[in-house]
């Protein structure tokens, strides 16, 4: 290949620094490693030592007026070398003790909160490269946060990065120190401190080496140039120097019993010890242990997904001893139990209804569920049981956790509660925990029990000096360690969110609880956005659809419009119907920061008062949103349809559209309702044609067995100023809604078929498993006692039987049945088509053999993937390489399922919060009609019923205030009915009258209460009041969430 270079001269000038050979000082560190096959291989690498590194580098913001203005919020830190001690002294920020703090690895790993919040107390920080490298290998999050601190420019802080590995004066370590890699690293960090100490010897600054490693501190004592301190002692000194600061609360807790209380010197280990890291990885390698991620829903149940070749199996972990201190999200090593301890799957077909009712028995009042709780396995697409030997008896593997490969310690929000008085006779479990573990320390601090809101997380013991000020506040605590002798993990306080119960604070809490990303998008993500002056132009490889009367129909106030429709007459008498979807993938290229962030968020989250976007606002509400009267890029599906709604032809096109109207459902409905007249408004005609086609499509779908399900959802009318809820409304379902839904379903199904034809094993699809009989049992028996026969054999039969279940006088009962049957089904899930047999791709609810999500790429990542698959299928863009990896797709789908669920839960929690605020504003409470969902007919239990209030979409359990062995009580289990005193009876699906009000519990905690008003079980009102009081006593838990914790 000959290449005549004419510009070599100018090139040379452009290239800033002339090329030189690397410095001559040079190490060749080699290490031995074992290959997979067991061979020992020596790996060599080069390491150049330099003498031009000065005293590390600090960061400056070089060009603050960047071309791309959107990225301006992010500081663009550029490293600058510190030449010598004099320059360093001028750069250092003066503070009380004039300390330059060199951080060791363990500080970065565990005490970042101290570093983050101590900008004024210790402004001068040094981060040795060794510490950062070690930190990155252990905890990626900690590394990212350290770098964040380090690269902050413009604060009152000086952070120095010290490349000690390559610095000629620090790279060498004494012979006796390099025996172990850890010792070598520690020695190098000490070298940094020593070098800085020597350089600053004659200045007013002193160098502190911050380390929690005793060995390292002992070795450092021999050097006079710097001082080695543990984090706790140093921070306590800082706190004394700075009255009012309470940094010591932020210090992570590790270590012995002294940390918790020091009462018992003999430590009795509560948990078995973990196997050492080296043995763990060896054990995993030789197949003795399995490696996997632990997932759990509550402290009792957990499972670990392990891989055996291509197969993935969920291993159930039972009991806290087997679980051995692992928390949700940890990467653990499990040892399988012997076969006789495995659970047979038939044993575990426990009726989830039963499960549900046990949880709800705590008179929990909440937002009605929409679907059945998905099992964790379903969210992760893992089969639950494996077949052992004979096919008839599938067993669920169980195991115990022998060690933890990577901790998932994070920060959690929650509260600390008032000290319970030990004299009180009846203590809730929570108070018992508090009583057993809280204690004061001689140094004025006390150990408190912090209860996270998230019930997956165990209570955390924290040590603080400001206990009093935490009461009534929502605070964030981080988990640090969980020694074997402690029943609960140790942690430290991070920050205060605000007073518990206030709307904004609780919103923040629930975002954190469900791990919904709510921080603004990072600079790297924003840098991927098109520039401000981005113009949407016609490009040759797109189809120009701007002449078509495209319009969108959405709820009022919708900002992220991702679908638009059109329908025109063709010369041959057929219609051309088009669904145009925002072309998000045009702006989001695969593999970029914005794509990774979107894949991680997976979905936008809609709260009552807030929307948390998956993509930055510029895309969500502007460039991608198919607004009226502007050109937009779109991905269009075009059908040729006969007037009888037969599809003749389908085409997929990347296009440019020009929407003529963004209608609301109301407007569209008024167009549909308009009488036929040729007033020439193209919008009316289009909507009418679409509506007539939609009706026909719908008929066909129903014919094929699609279910019409219902949801108890309500929406709030918010006050425009305070965003407080002023009223609750039911969702109005107009024909226009059905119209849009119909075409979206059609588009999704069409696209699913298309991508599946091209990528049979790589398509991202959505399946809805057929319900199993056991889940429906309860509903079927309840329906039977009211004379309805529900048949779930096929979705068609179910739809028909639901249609037939009507009570003339109570039209709502039919809807109730639909709601309840939705709840008996597992939710739909994303999956990769290669992972399931074609038979399992079926979408039960829609009665479609394949289904996917294509129509909302602005708010769902699955749609983005499908867009890419479709673009590859029609040859407009190649398939990104990672989308052709099945294991990547598996992880992606699992993440999407999890995030989707979390977004749903967060949305519900937000509704719950607003419901509480809504009822709290009305002190008297409200009387409303309610329907009985379930009557507790179990013997020996306190009689109770669960009810749903359709007006507000809330549901709860009412205790009837009767003793379990009341002689007048007659339970009729097969009738789902209880009769009291041969007079009053309550049966399932009865309409009753209830009162809903808010009760204050424990100063700041509030909860919703539902009381039965009619039919009254007892005649005397005096007696009723007494019962109420009894009931209030029996409910100790201050809020709904805590009530759930008890279980």
């Amino acid at each position: 290949m000959e290449y005549e270079d004419h510009d070599s001269e100018s090139d040379r000038e452009n290239y800033e620094s002339s090329i030189v050979t690397a410095p001559s000082l040079y190490l060749r560190p080699g290490y031995f490693r074992q290959t997979r096959k067991g061979k020992i291989v020596k790996s060599l690498s080069e390491r150049y030592l330099r003498d031009d590194l000065g005293l590390g580098c600090y960061y400056v913001d070089e060009d603050s007026n960047k071309k791309n203005r959107r990225v301006k919020e992010a500081t663009n830190a550029v490293p600058r070398t510190i030449e010598d001690a004099t320059q360093l002294v001028t750069l250092l920020k003066p503070c009380y003790c004039n300390a330059v703090v060199v951080c060791d690895t363990n500080v970065l790993l565990h005490n970042l909160d101290v570093l983050e919040q101590s900008a004024s107390q210790m402004p001068n920080l040094v981060f040795p490269q060794t510490a950062l490298v070690e930190c990155r290998a252990n905890r990626r999050v900690a590394y990212d946060r350290s770098v964040e601190i380090m690269r902050q420019v413009g604060g009152d802080r000086l952070c120095v990065f010290f490349p000690d590995v390559h610095h000629s004066q620090t790279a060498h370590v004494a012979e006796d120190d390099n025996a172990l890699i850890n010792d070598e690293n520690d020695a190098r960090i000490r070298n940094v401190a020593a070098l800085l100490g020597e350089q600053l010897r004659h200045s007013r600054y002193k160098v502190i080496l911050l380390t929690d490693d005793k060995g390292s501190r002992a070795k450092a004592d021999s050097c006079s140039d710097y001082e080695a301190r543990s984090v706790r002692s140093w921070v306590q000194e800082l706190d004394q120097l700075h009255p009012g600061s309470s940094l010591s609360d932020l210090v992570a807790q590790h270590g012995g019993p002294a940390a918790i209380g020091g009462k018992d010197t003999v430590t009795n280990d509560i948990f078995p010890h973990h196997v050492g890291q080296a043995d763990l990885s060896l054990g995993v390698k030789i197949g003795r242990y399995y490696r996997g991620v632990l997932r759990s829903k509550d402290p009792q149940s957990a499972f670990v997904t392990i891989r055996r070749g291509e197969e993935r199996v969920a291993v159930t972990i039972e009991g806290s001893q087997d679980r051995n201190r692992a928390i949700d999200g940890d990467v653990v090593a499990v040892e399988l139990h012997t076969l006789d301890k495995w659970l047979s799957s038939s044993m575990n077909v426990n009726d989830p209804k039963e499960d549900g009712s046990t949880i709800k028995k705590d008179s929990v009042v909440g937002i009605a569920d929409e679907t059945a709780e998905p099992s964790l396995n379903e969210l992760s697409n893992v089969p639950e049981s494996i077949t052992v030997n004979d096919a008839a008896n599938a067993l669920k593997p169980t195991g115990k956790i022998v060690g933890i490969l990577r901790r998932n310690f994070a920060s959690y929000s929650g509260s600390i509660f008032d000290k319970p008085s030990s004299s009180s006779s009846e203590l809730s479990e929570r108070e018992k925990i508090a009583l057993d573990n809280e204690r004061d320390h001689p140094d004025g601090t006390s150990t408190c029990v912090f209860f996270p809101v998230d019930n997956k997380v165990p209570p955390i013991l924290i040590r603080t000096s400001q206990r009093e000020s935490f009461l009534g506040q929502r605070i964030v605590c981080a988990m640090d360690s969980w020694p074997a002798h402690s029943l609960y993990p140790l942690g430290h306080y991070v920050e205060t969110i605000g007073p518990a119960g206030s709307k904004d604070v609780e919103t923040k809490v629930l975002l954190q609880q469900f791990k919904i990303a709510h921080e603004p998008f990072s600079a790297a993500v924003l840098a991927c956005l098109p520039p401000n002056d981005y113009k949407i132009e016609m490009v040759p490889d797109r189809t120009d659809l701007r002449h078509l009367p495209v319009l969108s129909i959405d709820p009022p106030g919708c900002k992220d419009i991702d679908d638009a429709l059109h329908c025109i007459d063709l010369p041959n008498g057929n219609y051309q119907v088009g669904v145009s979807i925002a072309d998000v993938t045009h702006y989001v290229s695969p593999g970029t920061a914005i794509d990774l962030e979107a894949a991680n968020r997976s979905t936008s989250t809609y709260l009552v008062n807030k929307r948390l976007d998956m993509l930055p606002a510029l895309l969500t509400t502007d460039l991608c949103s198919l607004k009226a009267n502007v050109d937009r890029y779109a991905f269009s599906v075009l059908w040729e349809v006969t007037p009888n709604a037969e599809i003749v032809n389908v085409d997929f096109k990347k296009s440019v559209i020009h929407s003529i109207a963004a209608l609301t459902y109301q407007q569209a409905q008024s167009f549909i309702d308009q009488p036929d007249n040729d007033d020439g408004d193209p919008r009316v005609g289009a909507v009418k044609r679409l509506a007539s086609l939609a009706r026909k499509f719908r008929e066909k779908r129903i014919e094929a067995g699609a279910l019409t399900l219902a949801s108890p959802e309500v929406k709030f009318v918010l006050d425009s100023e305070s965003l407080n809820p002023t009223d609750v409304q039911a969702y109005a379902l107009l024909e226009a809604n059905a119209l849009v839904e119909e075409f979206m379903l059609l588009a999704n199904i069409t696209v699913a078929k298309k991508i599946l034809r091209h990528y049979p094993t790589l398509s991202v699809l959505r399946r809805h498993p057929s319900p199993n009989r056991a889940m429906f049992e309860g509903l079927i028996s309840k329906a039977r006692c009211r004379g309805f026969d529900i048949d779930i054999e096929t979705s068609k039969r179910l739809a028909d039987s639901l249609d037939a279940s009507q009570i003339e006088s109570e039209p709502y009962v039919n809807k109730l049945l639909r709601i309840l049957s939705t709840r008996c089904m597992s939710p739909a899930q994303y999956f990769c088509s290669g992972e399931y047999r074609p038979l399992d791709w079926h979408h039960y609810g829609l009665a479609a053999p394949v289904y996917t999500h294509f129509t909302s790429p602005i708010r769902r990542y699955a749609d983005v993937c499908v867009h890419r698959l479709l673009a590859a299928a029609i040859n407009v863009a190649p398939l990104p390489p990672h989308l052709s990896s099945k294991s990547y797709l598996h992880d992606l789908c699992a993440n999407m399922n999890r995030r989707h669920r979390a977004a749903q839960l967060a949305g519900r929690a937000s509704v719950q919060l607003h419901t509480l605020i809504f009822f709290a504003s009305d002190s008297g409470g409200k009387e409303e009609d309610a329907y009985v969902l379930d009557v507790d007919t179990a013997k020996k239990s306190e009689p109770s019923i669960s009810v749903m209030v359709p007006r507000y979409g809330i549901e709860g359990r009412i205790k009837l205030g009767l003793a379990a062995d009341d002689p007048k009580l007659v339970r009729m289990a097969d009738q789902h009915k209880i009769v009291y005193d041969n007079d009053v009876s309550i049966q399932v699906f009865d309409r009753i009258r209830v009162k809903i009000w808010v009760r204050e519990v424990q100063d700041y905690q509030r909860e919703l209460v539902i009381d039965l008003v009619g039919p009254s079980l007892t005649k005397s009102s005096k007696k009723r009041g007494l019962e109420d009081k009894q009931k209030a006593d029996s409910i100790k838990s201050p809020s709904r969430k805590q009530a759930r914790r008890k279980k």
Binding site: E2, V20, T21, A22, R33, S45
Partner: protein, 289 residues
């Protein structure tokens, strides 16, 4: 120590690469001429050279010009260059590459062709019609940039063998870390294996280039990665050419050193003990000066 810090991280944090070099620095290079004395197996003038670029090491042996083994190989107007590139079995093969048969490794076959083209553009072939110049390169160790090392070794060996060339052929690679989406990525010169292997699904850009530095002619350039635009291509190629010039300085110094020793020998100052002759002291003195 296996450094787990990502290569772009350290670069952003301190403007240093993973092994401690600045972006524009080439690795330590050692050139040893006449490394293999056992070259004259019965005919032709021999020459050899051992070139180390960092931990990558290549030994080249040149025989010829000599008669072609087969008449059919002869070219009427110029000499034919017979190139073979082999890797020793104990040379660590590149990160993702499996250990393959060194005779049939397609990467080596490809390298053979590239090297042949580069040498044909360098040697004054028309001086030796109907004859054959045999160049054998053995990769002794591979830590990235083995094509460059092979070209440099062959070039020095040609000079050791006294075969007339247009210029001293020099080779060096350049590339950049990261995805290339960010336009202010730093261009790196002389990539080592870690830098040229793909990382986390991102293909690293690595462009080896060989040129005749005094003429400014690029005789070989190869790039397998996808570059975003021509500007980037220009930038990377420019950096690679600058790297070649740095390599040229080192090779030239080594040749002068060798020549002065040989001249001294002719005057009777010593014996050529080439096998033990080490040039790194000389080079260190050179590069620091």
């Amino acid at each position: 120590m296996g450094s787990s810090i990502r290569r772009t991280d350290l670069l952003a944090l301190s403007n240093l690469r993973n092994d401690g070099r600045k972006p524009g620095e080439i690795r330590r290079m050692r050139v040893q001429m006449g490394a293999n004395t056992n070259t004259g197996d019965g005919g032709g003038v021999g020459g050899s050279a051992l070139v180390d670029m960092g931990l990558t090491s290549a030994l080249a042996t040149v025989r010829g010009p000599m008669a072609c083994a087969r008449r059919s190989d002869e070219l009427p107007d110029r000499a034919m260059v017979d190139v073979s590139v082999k890797a020793v079995p104990f040379a660590p093969s590149g990160g993702d590459r499996r250990v393959t048969n060194p005779n049939t490794d397609r990467r080596l076959v490809e390298m053979t062709h590239l090297l042949k083209r580069a040498l044909e553009a360098t040697i004054l072939l028309q001086l030796y019609p109907k004859s054959r110049i045999q160049v054998q390169v053995v990769i002794l160790a591979d830590d990235g940039g083995r094509l460059s090392a092979a070209i440099n070794a062959a070039s020095v060996a040609l000079i050791d063998a006294g075969i007339p060339v247009k210029d001293i052929l020099c080779s060096c690679s350049a590339g950049y870390a990261g995805s290339g989406v960010n336009t202010d990525e730093k261009t790196l010169v002389d990539l080592n294996r870690q830098e040229e292997s793909s990382f986390a699904g991102q293909n690293a850009v690595c462009l080896p280039c060989a040129m005749l530095p005094q003429r400014g002619t690029v005789v070989m350039a190869q790039c397998e990665a996808r570059l975003p635009d021509f500007d980037t291509m220009d930038r990377v190629l420019g950096a690679a050419m600058d790297g070649c010039r740095a390599v040229f300085d080192i090779i030239q110094a080594a040749i002068r050193e060798r020549a002065s020793i040989l001249l001294g020998m002719r005057r009777g100052h010593g014996t050529p003990a080439t096998n033990v002759l080490k040039f790194d002291q000389v080079l260190i003195a050179y590069t620091n000066g």
